[in-house]
């Protein structure tokens, strides 16, 4: 890949650019190939020997600059894709960190990454306002990630000759940079792959998604920052001063402006162009646009949902008050009929007191309404649904927390799955829109939406709106 060779940035130290261009082509005293582009016709050097091989590499194959024929490649094209990623990747990283914070991993039951150490330095109490906050941040995270896939692929394509650069290692700094680029490329592909698989429920990656995607992001971002630091001067130089329009107007294969140093990307013997630079950029843009069109609807919701033709949540589960997206069904997580039947009871605990309530008793308490969405880490979300039920703070008051209730530990009848219990923070319990919901859109909750009772909290990640709630423990270790 783009083995960030600092010398190519023109900040070079040891060896100037002058001896670079002919290095690989004339090594061993062989004249530059005059052929018809096929490296096969290059006369084999007779007096190469092992040292010659070390210096010039194999006579044919991807280590030879002539092997790469595309007239599109060059620092300008790479810089154009790089500029898009330079904006996109930090947005992905920040929205990802926000999603991590939204899970309140510093609270007992929520922690999937107890070893995070300083990587959670920025954690803060996730707010409940605006109530669509998580819908927005996670919708952007997932949709943008998907949309950037073609750009990432194009960027990697544009720099692939550098993967085969010869000699493979030129200096200590070069070796370190190549290692860093392995982390960069491996990290990017690892993050995109785990993300794309997870949103489609294809859990083939080696372990739990949360630690893999979170720690993987930190491994990646370290290499990303180094790469940006080394490469940004070249990128700015390439794109500065209206270069964009100039290059787009120019046919492929001929740079609008002289490139001071191709950085090993410009083909020395280009094939005839079959697409213009404008065409190549447009094609990648068309790929991104198509992905946007077939995915964004699952995060926007409403009548837009049907446009998300390939997104996992592009279909509505059915009509009626409970006809909105289900994260995981009751059957899917092993809820049995007797867990949520007439014998179901809610146990409230706090401040040394305990209350046990039936659903009828809960319905007899003051009922409140709140219009709140379900927003999933997978990027999909629903429009606001009209929930009704008992305020969490009213329930806290029943067990000895009449004012300023503490956080609450929520447990579900769910027998398996990593989100069968949750800890909510005090700011979430105190919000008047935070409910133990019994009904939605004027009807009882359906079994798949958490009957007999579920938590619903504004701006809370979907899986923390625990369904089939059996026990609420206020304070005490939260």
């Amino acid at each position: 890949m783009s083995d960030g060779d600092s010398k190519d940035d023109g900040r070079g130290s040891g060896r100037g650019g002058a001896d670079r261009a002919p290095r690989r082509r004339t090594g061993g005293g062989v004249p530059p190939p005059v052929g018809r582009g096929s490296t096969l016709q290059e006369p084999a050097p007779s007096s190469r020997g092992f040292r010659g091989f070390l210096r010039t590499g194999p006579p044919v194959g991807p280590t030879r600059p002539e092997f790469w024929r595309s007239p599109l490649r060059g620092p300008w094209l790479t810089s154009a894709f790089g500029a898009v990623l330079l904006i996109g990747i930090p947005v992905l990283f920040v929205t990802g960190l926000l999603s991590y914070a939204a899970y309140n991993p510093d609270l007992g039951a929520n922690d999937k990454t107890p070893d995070r150490g300083w990587l959670g330095f920025y954690l803060f109490a996730w707010p409940t306002d605006p109530h669509w906050l998580y819908r927005l941040t996670q919708g952007v995270h997932v949709t943008l990630g998907i949309v950037l896939v073609p750009v990432l692929l194009a960027k990697l394509w544009s720099v692939v000759p550098r993967l085969f650069t010869w000699p493979p290692v030129r200096s200590v700094s070069h070796a370190l940079e190549r290692l860093s680029v392995l982390l960069l490329v491996g990290g990017a592909l690892f993050e995109f792959a785990t993300g794309v698989l997870n949103i489609q429920l294809d859990y083939v990656f080696p372990g739990s998604f949360y630690p893999l995607h979170f720690y993987g992001a930190w491994v990646f971002i370290g290499a990303f920052v180094v790469h940006v630091a080394f490469r940004i001067p070249l990128m700015v130089r390439m794109l500065r001063g209206g270069g964009l329009r100039e290059e787009l107007r120019h046919p492929a294969g001929r740079a609008a402006r002289p490139v001071p140093d191709g950085g090993g990307l410009v083909a020395p013997d280009p094939a005839p162009p079959s697409i213009s630079r404008r065409g190549a950029l447009s094609m990648v843009g068309a790929g991104s646009l198509a992905l946007l069109v077939v995915n964004a609807g699952q995060s926007i919701g409403g009548s837009w949902r049907v446009t998300a033709l390939l997104a996992p949540r592009g279909q509505d589960p059915g009509p009626g008050p409970n006809g909105f997206q289900v994260n995981k069904t009751a059957a899917g997580v092993g809820i049995r009929a007797r867990d949520v039947g007439p014998a179901w009871r809610l146990v409230l605990r706090g401040a040394g007191q305990e209350r046990v309530l039936s659903r009828a008793q809960l319905l007899a308490l003051p009922q409140h309404r709140a219009a709140l969405p379900i927003a999933c880490v997978e990027g999909w979300s629903t429009e606001d649904q009209l929930w009704s039920g008992v305020r969490l703070r009213d329930l806290a008051a029943l067990v000895g927390h009449p004012h300023l209730p503490p956080g609450v530990f929520v447990q579900s009848a769910q027998r398996s799955g990593s989100f069968r219990s949750t800890t909510l923070r005090d700011n979430q319990v105190r919000d008047p829109r935070s409910l133990l919901a019994l009904r939605v859109n004027g009807a009882d909750l359906s079994p798949d939406h958490g009957y007999p009772a579920r938590v619903i909290v504004p701006a809370n990640p979907g899986v923390h709106n625990t369904k089939w709630v059996t026990r609420l423990t206020f304070g005490d270790g939260t």
Binding site: M1, S6, K7, S13, G14, G37, P71, R116, G117, L119, V149, L156, S171, V172, S173, L176, L179, S180, V185, G186, G187, L189, F190, A193, L197, Q200, L201, D202, P206, P211, L212, Y215, W218, V219, G222, A223, V225, V226, A229, A252, G253, D269, A271, P272, P273, S274, I275, S276, M283, A286, G287, A290, L309, L310, P312, Q315, G318, V326, T329, A331
Partner: protein, 163 residues
Amino acid sequence: MSSFATRYGASPLHLLLVLCSFALTGYAGIRLLAGDRPWAVVLWFVGAALLHDLVLLPLYTVTDRALRTVLDGRPRHRADDAGSRPSRGRINYVRVPAFVSGVLFLVHFPLVLGRVDHFTAYTTLPGDVFLGRWLLITAALFGLSALVLLLRLWRSGPRARHR
């Protein structure tokens, strides 16, 4: 300083930045590999790069080259042969829809190929619609491209005849 640069190959600032990054990588990497299957994670991390660089990229490059040979006839060898006008061949009318359809497949293959057995059990949604949808989108993309090509041919036709 300059002797350092000669031996190391770049400025000390370069070394500091790389070491700083590696330290962070180490800190996060230990945690990334702390699960039950550390080798599987390494395999995924490095394998993703190798799979892309040595399989996916060569595969689509070769496909593109084959397509070019088929559609543009005898391959011309040098840029000069073709003049400065790109896209003389009509390859892009195939290339662009194929690329778009390809990235849609690459991103959505788990659902398109029906790999996710528990999809309906988890979501209540039918999981067998995606292959058909992807094929229809692909058909629409190629169809649209054909329409544009027809339009171009039709519009350039009379002029070409008058010349």
